[in-house]
Amino acid sequence: MIEGARWKKWLWFYLPMALFILGLLFPFYWMLVTTLKPDGELYRPWNHPLYSPFWTSAPTLDHIKNLLQDTLFNTWMLNTMLIAFAATLISLFCGVIAGYALARLQFRWAGLLGTAIFVTYLVPQTLLFIPLAEIIRDYNIGDTPWALILTYPTFLIPFCTWLMMGYFKTIPKELEECARIDGATRWQAMLLIILPIALPGILSAGIFAFTLSWNEFIYALVFLSSPEQKTVPVGVTSELIRGDVFYWGSLMAGALIGSIPVAIVYSFFVEHYVAGMTGSVKG
């Protein structure tokens, strides 16, 4: 009986999970192995007797050196970080306040407005960049970080608002009412009582917003043109693909290093993040 149970657990739990993890981690392994392969191995045709796509026999750091020395990768990293950070802060600030208002203040069109905000999130960026490009030209902020810092919130604010609205709704409104009877103004009740309790939600909204802006591609591609202004996704793809030549080793090195900050942010806040998603307030 117990033997059977163990066997079943392997088949239905460990095995699928192993496959799942393998599937998730394989791209990272591929990036790593491609980064470390010398060009000779990288461009070997598939029918070559020494063809080895999944490992390398002569690892090298040349591609990384290339990436860091011959391209503006460090500048791109700094740009991306600055832009993602600023856009996240703006969006979180607006999202928290708007989410609070939609969840708590009983005004006439609250429900409709909430839905409307969500609908704006559904407008595809591939459509929205056309009118936005015109606005950016009119305000003369093309090819500056501001072009992205001010446009990313167009999709981040609806996202944060929606997420925060849901989170605020899980916090009992009596807490706030009690604070107001205790002598707090509406603002004080929000700042001193509701926001500290909503911290897990705010953190997860922040992580999401940060990741979305870190990985954003279309706006960055359209609104920035000079190499020293670019973000990592655009910089790597535009500077390391020249015509039809793909510098795979450096491309993968850029992708790998570019994903490190996001991974750090996630692992740092993972506990809060999970609490934020499950929306639990223990009173």
Binding site: C178, A179, R180
Partner: protein, 363 residues
């Protein structure tokens, strides 16, 4: 110390009229309980006093000052919520100190008051803990402590005991009563539990569908209910009702239906004479019924068939059928009764209640 006056108070939500023309005077230091089934408007009334709900029309004044447009913080009240509403990210001490800090009390004074309240409630060892580390009863005490440190003019309680288990509820009820006697602050208490209402209230306000049905001290409600609703709501087990026709038998007024015929004695008969020939609702409390003894006048007894026997120890509840009506009789625990047995019951003639069949008002 405060005197609270509700005048023609109304509250309408979209489409529903939750509170209708409530007039109520709550005297200084009085403990008033609003009681009624859920949705009767009692909590809405309380929230209007707290300032958490806008008033559609009417007036609320505390100590003669109209507070309709005052923010909750400016009304000098404290409220204890059903789910306690403790701030989960603060320690017990900070929870209790929050209101004082908001009101800019200085530190030594805050500490003195919190310590004092903690002592009164016996929660000194818990001051450093977080709310989630407390049991239900302890949370309840902290919520009370948070209310009393501020020394407010009025305490508001919104079903504070309904999240506790039965034993703890009885214990906290006694403590609340003791606390009120000690603090001598005006208190308004909302509950759906009539036992809580009867034991805690100096006066009890029974509400139904947004309308005040009766205001009075607990015994007044029990002995002289103003209508059938109050009569049925107050008292446990609930009052028995039977439709009867008032008749004239040998010069005496009788209340008669398929299962019983009761001769109404002297004083009450005079009042009922005007209703001769009409149908009325007869109300008899279970505790006013007993198994007929040899000396009971036949005009006050009737036959019943026992259907269910509930032995509670201190008394026995008999669910009986009388003609077409079901009734409950609370009888002496020594009574020997069997299911399906015919049993003759007698009624206490002084304690008969009559209600108009249409308006349900007491006669």
């Amino acid at each position: 110390m405060a005197h609270v006056l509700l005048k023609d108070l109304n509250k309408k939500f979209d489409g529903t009229h939750a509170v209708k023309n409530v007039n109520l005077e709550i005297r200084d230091r009085e403990f008033v309980v609003l009681v009624g089934p859920s949705g009767c408007g009692k909590t809405t009334t309380l929230r209007m006093v707290a300032g958490l709900e806008e008033i559609t029309s009417g007036e609320i004044s505390i100590d003669g000052k109209v507070v309709n447009d005052l923010a909750p913080m400016d009304r000098d009240i404290a409220m204890v919520f059903q789910n306690y509403a403790l701030y989960p990210h603060m320690s017990v001490y900070d929870n209790m100190a929050f209101g004082l800090r908001m009101r800019k009390f200085d530190k030594p004074e805050i500490e003195r008051r919190v310590k004092q309240a903690a002592e009164v409630l016996g929660i000194q060892p818990l001051l450093e803990r977080r709310p989630r580390q407390l049991s239900g009863g302890q949370r309840q005490r902290v919520a009370l402590g948070r209310a009393i440190v501020r020394n407010p003019r009025v305490f508001l309680f919104d079903e504070p005991l309904s999240n506790l288990d039965a034993a703890l509820r009885v214990q906290m009820r006694v403590e609340l009563k003791r606390l009120h006697d000690r603090l001598e602050t005006t208190a308004i208490y909302v509950t759906h539990d009539q036992v809580e209402a009867m034991t805690l209230g100096d006066r009890v306000v029974v509400m139904k569908d947004g309308v005040v049905q009766q205001v009075g001290d607990p015994l007044e409600l029990y002995n002289r209910p103003a209508n059938k609703f109050v009569a049925g709501f107050i008292g446990s087990p609930a009052m028995n009702f039977a439709t009867v026709t008032m008749g004239d038998g040998n010069g005496r007024i009788t209340a008669k239906n398929a299962g019983l015929e009761i001769e109404i004695p002297g004083a009450q008969a005079e009042r009922l004479r005007a209703h001769l020939g009409r149908q009325l609702m007869l109300g008899i409390r279970p505790e006013d019924l007993h198994v007929a003894r040899a000396g009971d006048p036949t005009g006050l007894t009737f036959n019943s068939r026992v259907e269910v026997i509930e032995k509670l120890g201190s008394e026995i509840l008999l669910d009986v059928r009388v003609g077409e009506d079901s009734m409950v009789a609370a009888v002496d625990p020594a009574t020997q009764a069997k299911v399906q047995e015919q049993l003759r019951l007698a009624v206490n003639p002084e304690r008969l209640h009559f209600f108009d069949a249409r308006t349900e008002a007491a006669i």
